[in-house]
Symmetry: C2
Subunit: 216 residues, 2 copies
DNA sequence: TAGATTGTTAATCGATTAACAATC
DNA sequence: TAGATTGTTAATCGATTAACAATC
């Protein structure tokens, strides 16, 4: 069957959650689950779960449900988690250092190869056994280490400039923590983590009820 | 006018982006903008921009557009950014420390009052001038410091447990960095930042084109 | 076989876009 | 006033939910 229709991002963004819940079921040695049972745990409708999974293939079996181990493996394939990726962190401030230090990502195949900053006070410091290098060395480093993903932990102003370098040097994806919208060719994947935007949404919701009363 | 209909989250999640672009226009001393011009910069349709803003009031003027300064101020009010919030970070690992250190949040009125961890090796260390305290002291601390927001930077297993404490002690919102879905009463605002999920989505998109070819 | 549960089509719901009258 | 641009209604599009025949 040709599945060459593009899957909507709404569906894609639910996949990691399926993956996480299936991992939990695996840990608990549960080896089958129906869309109805999964629905109760995960909070999506059973109908939505079946629709979502059917975008990628026929993973279930009528009258039985889904095999947890198999479905978990399939979703890991869909997400590309069985592969290895080489990454660099650009910007070694607090956030950059935290991301560089986080070992969970390397367990999932995201291997940190380099950390870069322009601040001379940071260059030379070791984070997670990797020495922070001068950002001027970034282009050459990408050439020599087949870097797949650039992780931007930079201030607003320098994000686009570094993104341009990453794209030019052939990086395939950018994980962007900078509070800026970067512009790249459409074949480059960009995933934004805008922390301050998330915090603003939280702030909005904290005041939601009040707002309604104030405006009457 | 009574605006007491609930605004959809799709709209709310766009507000911080409006806020950010308006701040940029302010920095550049631009004092008016039409939905059409803003559309070109921000990438939403002009129609959507007008629809979005109209959920909150009549901020524009026919034939003129929007006053940048005024609109920026209105959105900051809608988002509750003119207020001050007291926060605690729970979990002082790499990510918790990075969040605690980030000064940008305090500039926006989110004031860090305490940092907690259960690891004796971390307790006593100062981050951003605040000493990491034993997590056992969290309930009393919330009572004495009118904490509004709890920031969870914990492993999967302990997130729900700490969330329960926060809710019981009257925190109004939770900014959740733990890779777990926490369950709280509906009047408590929860905003999730699931970094590993974001990375998985990036991974998916890195492989998107390949997937299509493989499945034919 | 009977019961359970999927895969999939059709119906509904919600969000986005288009259109244009109102009005600055 | 004429031109520009909003506010808002109507049309379209896309995503979610419901329903049920297929089938394990």
């Amino acid at each position: 069957m040709n599945k060459s229709t593009l899957i909507s991002m709404a569906v894609v963004r639910r996949l990691p959650k399926y993956y996480r819940y299936l991992a939990e079921l695996l840990r608990r040695d549960i080896d089958r689950i129906s869309s109805k049972e999964l629905s109760e745990k995960i909070g999506f409708t059973a109908s939505q779960i079946r629709q979502d999974l059917n975008n990628f293939g026929d993973f279930g079996q009528q009258g039985y449900g889904y095999n947890v181990k198999e479905l978990h493996r399939e979703i890991s394939k869909i997400l590309g988690l069985y592969k290895e990726y080489n990454t660099v962190v650009v910007g070694a401030g607090n956030l950059g250092q935290a991301i560089a230090n986080y070992s969970g990502f390397s367990k999932q195949g995201f291997n940190l190869k380099g950390i870069f900053d322009k601040n001379p006070k940071l260059i030379g410091i070791k984070i997670n056994d990797i020495e922070i290098k001068d950002i001027d060395m970034l282009p050459e480093f990408i050439d020599n280490n087949s870097i797949d993903i650039g992780i931007l932990c930079l201030p607003r102003n320098s994000a686009q400039e570094v993104a341009n370098v990453l794209v030019e040097k052939g990086v395939k994806g950018i994980w962007n923590f900078a509070p800026a919208d970067i512009v790249v060719p459409e074949e480059i994947a960009v995933e934004n983590v805008h922390l301050s935007e998330s915090l603003m949404v939280l702030s909005y919701r904290l005041n939601e009820t009040n707002l309604l009363n104030e405006n009457k």
